[in-house]
Symmetry: C2
Subunit: 320 residues, 2 copies
């Protein structure tokens, strides 16, 4: 993949293909859908902004979970939407409560991440499908599957399952398991007419040539992806082991990070985040209670995890 | 610059700096302004969309020129703005008429490109400054200087001249003379508070790491830029010579293309564009009368221009 980038660098004086045909064809082959079911964009963040713009205007009701992905909220607020936030239940987004909120408020959009960020939890595909079946057609569902490559297969409905539903948009990215956060390439999968609507508002020449080349090369190397996923699993296990060893409770994770329950309040979690930060270990934490009893530790290379293992006890001791 | 890209490729697993500090510092040094006066974005197209979003809502009046940059119109239409289009005068955007239209319609935004696309003409910086001085503060000016590196110095007011004006935004790009169309990097220069407003709506992680690296490396190599500008000038002269030799009238150009007056109507110009296209020469033409009596030929390598010189007489003969 790096070789593909280095080889393609000589072409960057040219505008890239505004239709992204080559990458869309490769993704269509990979997923068994049509290129008309796919739109590429500048990361999931950018695509979320476009999806919000498609249906949200001042006063539009949008349902999400309290503590879920803040960048989705940023876009909703930016277009004047009114957010209704449903609490998590048992550290998962609460599908039943999300549906009830959509119905109660006659919401135009609902956000659901599977697997979830920041808790790392997931729902079975049958639960997701039941939610989709029950969802009013007047409500656009943002199904954020950014972490899908890291999760169990049973969490993900087949790609063709919702392709006839104009109100279901599935978001995927090359930033997580594919390891290409720096190229800013995400894509959305959906019913053809809904996908076509992105064409009326997107920045047609927004994707750099090298990002398209890198994403396509990464997609082509599924063996490498599988090896990365294996390493992510090992790293999750190791992070969980370190957490337990330090008297903390790691949550099961279907993502490339592990949420660790530190057993106290947000102030305590924040002190751990800051303590580790001061010692060169950058981790994050959920923004709201009760999720903020946890810290969120990303998987990394062995030396990163060793550093975490070495510094965590020191930080915890200093806080006792 | 290619070396910088190839070297940086190994870093693309990381998210890029969402503040683009390194490139903004380099641009601030280059232009003698503050980093708070600069915002980077996914090409001028993407930045234009954000600028429009900042001030345009359904019904907002926006003034531009009839036949000027269509992507600006695309964004205005996308946010529900009402466009008022002023005809060109003598193949230049008509500053006086643009100002009159702003005043008559109490417009919230006005677009002006200097140098102009698609005609290649320009206005003197004193004319631009007079326009700015006369512009109501309630009207945001989009001063599109995408082609500035190709134009004469006298066309461009000093960067610090408008930095205290909250309603003047100047757009620049690495896609033209810097030769980096494929990396999608543009920037906007303006008063600090206005620039800060972009931060409330932009896609913070929209810029790929390699695009930032490439733009910064290109900016650092001003000697190379000057050599490119010299080659653009030579190519313009050569294209003009070929046009004259074929009985057509090249317009003076302050850009990296030459508009050639073919002396008849849009149908004739289109037939030339299509005839050349069929023979492997890709050129463009303005979209509306009377500008569409012209074809628009981009500068290129010697072999590209030789191909144009070879095929143009054949195409013209076939049309006679």
């Amino acid at each position: 993949m790096l070789a593909a980038i280095r080889e393609a660098a000589g072409d960057i004086w040219k505008y890239s293909d505004s239709e992204h045909l080559s990458l869309r064809k490769a993704l269509a082959d990979h997923h068994g859908c049509g290129i008309e079911n796919l739109m590429i964009g500048e990361g999931v963040d950018g695509l979320l902004g476009m999806a919000v713009r498609l249906v949200v205007s001042p006063g539009t009701k949008v349902v999400t979970s309290l503590g879920a992905y803040p960048t989705f909220n940023y876009h909703v607020d930016g277009f004047g939407g009114v957010r209704i936030s449903v609490p998590y239940s048992h550290d998962r987004e609460d599908l039943e409560a999300l549906l009830a909120a959509v119905q109660e408020h006659d919401a135009t959009m609902v956000y659901f991440a599977n697997p979830d960020n920041p808790m790392g939890s997931f729902w079975h595909e049958d639960d997701v499908a039941r939610f989709v079946d029950a969802l009013p057609e007047t409500c656009m569902m943002v199904l954020d599957e950014a972490y899908c490559e890291c999760g169990p297969a049973e969490a993900f409905p087949a790609i063709d399952r919702f392709l006839d539903r104009p109100n279901i948009l599935r978001f995927r990215t090359f930033s997580k398991a594919y390891g290409l956060a720096g190229v800013r390439a995400g894509y959305v999968i959906g019913e053809a007419q809904t996908i076509a609507a992105f064409n009326k508002i997107r920045n047609h020449f927004g994707m750099p040539h090298l990002s398209l080349v890198a994403a396509e090369a990464a997609l082509a190397d599924q063996a490498y992806l599988q090896s990365v996923i294996g390493r992510i699993r090992d790293a999750r296990d190791e992070i969980a082991r370190i957490a337990r060893k330090n008297g903390l409770s790691p949550l099961p994770s279907a993502t490339n990070f592990v949420a660790i329950d530190c057993g106290r309040d947000g102030a305590y979690s924040r002190a751990i985040v800051e303590g580790l930060g001061a010692r060169g270990v950058f981790i994050r934490m959920p923004g709201v209670a009760p999720l903020d009893r946890c810290i969120r530790v990303s998987t990394g290379l062995s030396e990163d995890i060793e550093l975490f293992a070495r510094e965590l006890p020191t930080v915890l001791q200093a806080l006792d």
